[in-house]
């Protein structure tokens, strides 16, 4: 009755990577905090000096953000690839990333004084773009078909990307402040952003968990799903909604982080040797969280105190692993 002995092993490795990334994320940065101190702070002990303040007020919220965003993007990619039965699916293809980028640039240009609005702008336009994709893809003949969703998504993505590029070309002096959002990166701004955005993460994660079994049915084809009483286009719609919530909330907190949602589900699928969503969805959450926390630690440590955008570091960490697995998988 044991299923694929590789799966517990992969879970073990992912959890170890997650623990290491969390400790590194809390201990490293412009100021190094001893690991013992980090653990003492986490256990609620009093610690003398500024270390307590650094860990509790700056690094803990940032680490939690990295974990949430990484897990959200990993899960969004996993459920979209499953629902659309397409290995190239990621939050980009349902338009969220394009919409979020446009929303953020719009805030930077129109309301340069109130940068606090940026997450809300990214969230709103990310969900708006996704809603546009759903409205087109789930109407008319063959509604909710994979091809229709992907084509509508790519068209809407192009539209919003054109808007973003147009705005940047028209206001080149604003480009530097937009770069950090477009490249993707976390900030040490305390709990405020998470305080506003967490409900979107919560709804997205709960919906994704409820979708695991329907997605496993869908993997056996629309007819088997139909035999089991599911409606395939409804499963796809819910998967797209959950992914849109997770990706838009992620963009609101960390800007445009493209690579993670596409690649992490593939990495866990290849490492675990299975495409069963019972494994791929939770493993993508852990893997995405570990990868983003590790990349963020690198991004703010390598040239401290200068912070670099996290996107490139994630690619540097993730692409070699992905290519190595890809070579072995085929």
């Amino acid at each position: 009755m044991t299923l694929a002995p590789r799966r517990p092993l992969v879970y073990g490795l992912l959890l170890a990577a997650l623990a290491a990334a969390v400790i590194a994320s809390l201990a490293l940065g412009a100021v190094k905090v001893p690991i013992q101190t980090v653990i003492d702070v986490l256990l609620g002990k009093e610690v003398s000096g500024p270390d307590q303040q650094i860990v509790e007020a700056l690094r803990l919220p940032r680490t939690v953000e990295a974990l949430c965003v990484g897990a959200a993007l990993g899960v969004a990619g996993a459920i979209l690839q499953g629902a659309l039965a397409n290995p190239l699916a990621s939050p980009d293809v349902i338009g969220v990333t394009g919409g979020a980028g446009f929303g953020a640039i719009l805030i930077i240009i129109l309301f340069p004084g109130s940068i606090a609005l940026l997450p809300i702008g990214a969230l709103f336009f990310g969900l708006l773009a996704a809603a546009l994709v759903f409205a087109i893809a789930w109407s008319g003949h063959n509604r909710g078909s994979t091809g229709k969703v992907i084509l509508a998504g790519i068209a809407v993505l192009s539209l919003f990307t054109a808007g973003t590029t147009g705005l940047l070309a028209a206001y080149p002096e604003k480009a530097p402040s937009a770069i950090f959002f477009i490249a993707g990166g976390l900030t040490s701004s305390g709990w405020e952003e998470m305080g506003a955005i967490w409900p979107y993460f919560a709804v997205g994660f709960v919906t994704a968990a409820l979708l695991i079994r329907p997605l496993d049915r869908l993997a056996l084809g629309d007819d088997v799903a139909g035999s089991l009483g599911s409606r395939p286009h409804v499963i796809r719609l819910w998967a797209a909604i959950a992914a849109a919530l997770l990706a838009a909330a992620s963009a609101a907190i960390a800007g445009l982080i493209g690579f993670l949602g596409l690649v992490v589900p593939h990495v866990v699928r290849m490492a675990g040797g299975t495409s069963s969503h019972t494994f791929v969805v939770p493993a993508s959450a852990i893997g995405g969280a570990a990868l983003l926390a590790a990349a963020d630690t690198l991004a703010r440590t390598l040239r401290a105190p200068i912070e670099m955008p996290v996107g490139p570091f994630m690619a540097i960490l993730g692409v070699p692993l992905f290519l190595w697995l890809l070579r072995k998988a085929v």
């Binding site: 409820l210 084809g221 035999s227 089991l228 699928r269």
Partner: protein
Amino acid sequence: MSAAAGQAAQPLLVEARDLEVEIAGTQILRGADLSLSRGELLAVVGPNGAGKSTLVRAVSGLQPFSAGDVRWSGRVLPGLKGRELAHMRAFVPQRMPVPPGVEVREAVMIGRSSHLRPLRRLQGKDHDAVEAALARAGVDDFAERQLSTLSGGELQRVQIAIGLAQEAPVLIADEPTSQLDLGAAVGVAGLLRRLADDGLAVLLVVHDLALATAVADRVVVVAEGRTVAEGEPGAVLTSDLLASVWHADARLTAEGGHTALHVAWLPEQGVGAT
């Protein structure tokens, strides 16, 4: 040949009347009927494009219909929820996609999921149902193998096992033997017959008239979207009907469990005259 006697005494599980289906502006069904009782194997036969698959899909609730009436144990189809329908019938497609890395038992467990509440795991009776389905379909020997390693015949029997895990009284199979070699087709045909003998109602879409004659209690002949004939295979599939529906000079014979379709493959060359 199976005992068709006494089937009239069984209550009707499914009854479809005057079904009409239009897909993308084309009328596929123009008044098709069928009915199915417990323990009966009903074969739906007909030429390519006649609407056989559309008929069983409409009956299964997988294809909306524009007119007509489908009743499952007396209940009207559009009123049935997906979960209720999943407890009344299992639909086995011609060939399902094979997700990488998924093992046979895992796939059959997915077939059990219509009995589970959201986020609940399989209970003891669910595991029992999965093992029973694996055994009945004869796939328990390779329950640990990945779907991607199976032959066409093995995969078809796994698909039937997935349907059996639903524990529905009706199993609907859409051309399960079309892509199989002779030996695998014999295996699947025998499996479906045994399931009917065990009390399951089986609705089978099939091209092979010799196979249908051998395993079916009754056949429904569909042509141009209508049910044109219905009854015991030997009585219905006459040379006249084969000529009018399939436009072929052919006759069916049945002797001691062997059935054959004798076809004049090259009628214009006047084979009989040489």
